[in-house]
Amino acid sequence: MGSDIAPMGIKGERDGIPISIDEINKLRKVASKARNNVIKMQFYDHSIHVGSSLSSIEILTALIFRYLRDSESKYDKDWLILSKGHAAPGLYAVLAEKGLIPEEELWKIQDISGLLQGHPEIFIPGIDMSTGSLGQGLSFGIGVATGIRMQGGKGKVYVIMGDGEQDEGEIWEAMTHAVTRKLDNLISFIEINNYQLDGSVDDIKPKHFLPDVWKAVGWRTLFCDGHDFASLIDTIEEAHKIREPVVIFAKTLRGKGFPVIENTKVQRASPDDARKYLINA
């Protein structure tokens, strides 16, 4: 996305639970460990999507460590749907920090004897929807959010999408549908990292119009820095106060924190580069 996008990092009102420096430092530590583990995972399997995973680490960490509530009832628990399923290694790494996935499973990712699939599957702890085929998470999230509301449940639904994913026609079907239902328990993230599989989004299919389109359709659009916890949490707090569907455009970097691939379409580095990074990490 070009520079003509609405400014990122707009701060919300601060009447939610304020975040302390201590908590930010704690979240940073979790994110840093998860980031290193994603990079380490590529030693064991060279085909995982490292760049896309690193783009999502802070969003996943904020949601999993600060917001997601579990419950015996499907109507009262919060749901996390990774619609950009190829960022699964990032999700697994954060879930491992949370203790839901044994760390040793991370090194067996995509192995025939391992638990962790290339894309999320519901038989893996912490996974609420099997994804992998792009553009399907938001519709599913609308179904969950609608069911929760019918039942009077407390659950919230968080859907994480990529910017490339916005090319899918089903996204249009879903974004217009959510507004029709006036769902206020559905919060969507669109990571703006400017890359899709074949290259930069501007080269493949520009998306500078996205915030305008979502807004025009009837979504409340918020913006944040998807790697900065203060910005992320401020924005999520604001989203929670809004009584209609909210989409958060989160500016992120593909490959964030891993200089050899950062902000490029490259998904993974050579084992040598990964080793060098980890020695210094």
């Binding site: 099997s130 609308i142 217009t176």
Partner: protein, 312 residues
């Protein structure tokens, strides 16, 4: 044999869904702007808060249903067979892969949307749906079969593709007394020389062919293969052994449909000569479903012709 007339397939469908909705408060019905054509909107008249029209958005419809199912509702998706296949990948990657308890009830299958022509006539859906893990594929023969089977379909745990037509519903099973069960086929007529296996409204043709063959001294059994998947291997094997010849008839492509499903069983269990009566290409517009069935020769005349060939 008279074709007779009874409540149309889609009207019966709506009636039964409303009855089931009274009993089960978790039952939710959804469609994609074809509520009136499918008669799904009858459910809205009774249960407005449990009826969803998502607009002309089949992909969203499927994943919306998947989400409702994941959280604990019992979604029934009602749509045209053809246009639900637009979302086959969503059905595959969400409902099938997560084994969600979603019922896909399609109307306007086969040639039943006669006037609208080939764009609206689903002749490939059985093949597409029966490849999907976890899915059952069921085809009611007539309105009586819907009354008998639909409550069992809804109470079944797991995804089901239920293939219904439109107006045309010749009486086939209404005088018969049997309980429907997923995975079971039903013998509509006994016979010893050959077996005609079919599904849906064309079972009327299967029965008519069997009657005419009887007059020529050939004893033909007729089986209602309402459950295409899971398939009743036992009955198919029994009749392969008993009669030694099988003719299948379906309102669907002969590639991958009912006939193929039967053949997959026959070649493993007890190979016998088979003939396949069904569509081989797209349909076209016609004033009635019956005109198309006869125009494409997916009818009793072809069943008789193929049966006589097999008897040579």
């Amino acid at each position: 044999m008279m074709q007779g007339s009874t409540l149309s397939m889609r009207d019966t469908l709506a009636q039964v869904l409303v009855e089931l909705g009274e009993k089960d408060k978790d039952l939710v019905v959804m469609t994609a702007d074809v509520g009136d054509s499918t008669r799904a909107s009858k459910f809205k008249e009774k249960f407005n808060d449990r009826y969803f029209n998502v607009g002309i958005s089949e992909q969203d419809l499927v994943n919306f249903a998947a989400g409702l199912s994941a959280v604990g509702k019992k979604p029934v998706v009602v749509n045209f067979a053809m246009f639900l296949m637009r979302a086959w990948e969503q059905i595959r990657n969400s409902i099938s892969r997560m084994n969600l308890d979603v019922k896909l009830i399609v109307t306007h299958s086969g040639y039943s949307d006669s006037g609208d022509g080939s764009s609206h006539q689903a002749l490939e859906d059985i093949a597409l749906m029966r490849t999907l893990p976890n899915f059952s594929v069921v085809i009611p023969a007539d309105s009586a079969d819907i009354k008998r089977g639909l409550p069992k379909i809804i109470s079944h745990k797991g995804p089901v593709y239920y293939r219904v037509g439109r107006e045309y519903s010749p009486q086939i099973t209404d005088k018969m007394d049997y309980e429907f069960e997923i995975g079971k086929s039903y013998v509509l007529k006994e016979g010893s020389d050959l077996t005609i296996i079919g599904a849906g409204v064309l079972l009327w043709d299967a029965m008519k062919a069997a009657e005419e063959l009887e007059r020529k001294g050939i004893s033909a059994a007729v089986i209602n293969l309402s459950s295409v998947k899971p398939i009743d291997e036992q009955t198919i094997e029994y009749y392969a052994r008993k009669t030694g010849r099988i003719v299948t008839i379906e309102e669907h492509s002969v590639y991958g449909g009912v006939g193929s499903a039967v053949a997959e069983v026959v070649v493993r269990k007890y190979p016998v000569p088979m003939r396949f009566v069904g569509a081989t290409t797209f349909g076209r517009s016609a004033r009635s479903q019956r005109d198309l069935i006869d125009y494409y020769k997916v009818n009793y005349e072809t069943v008789i012709k193929e049966s006589l060939e097999l008897m040579k």
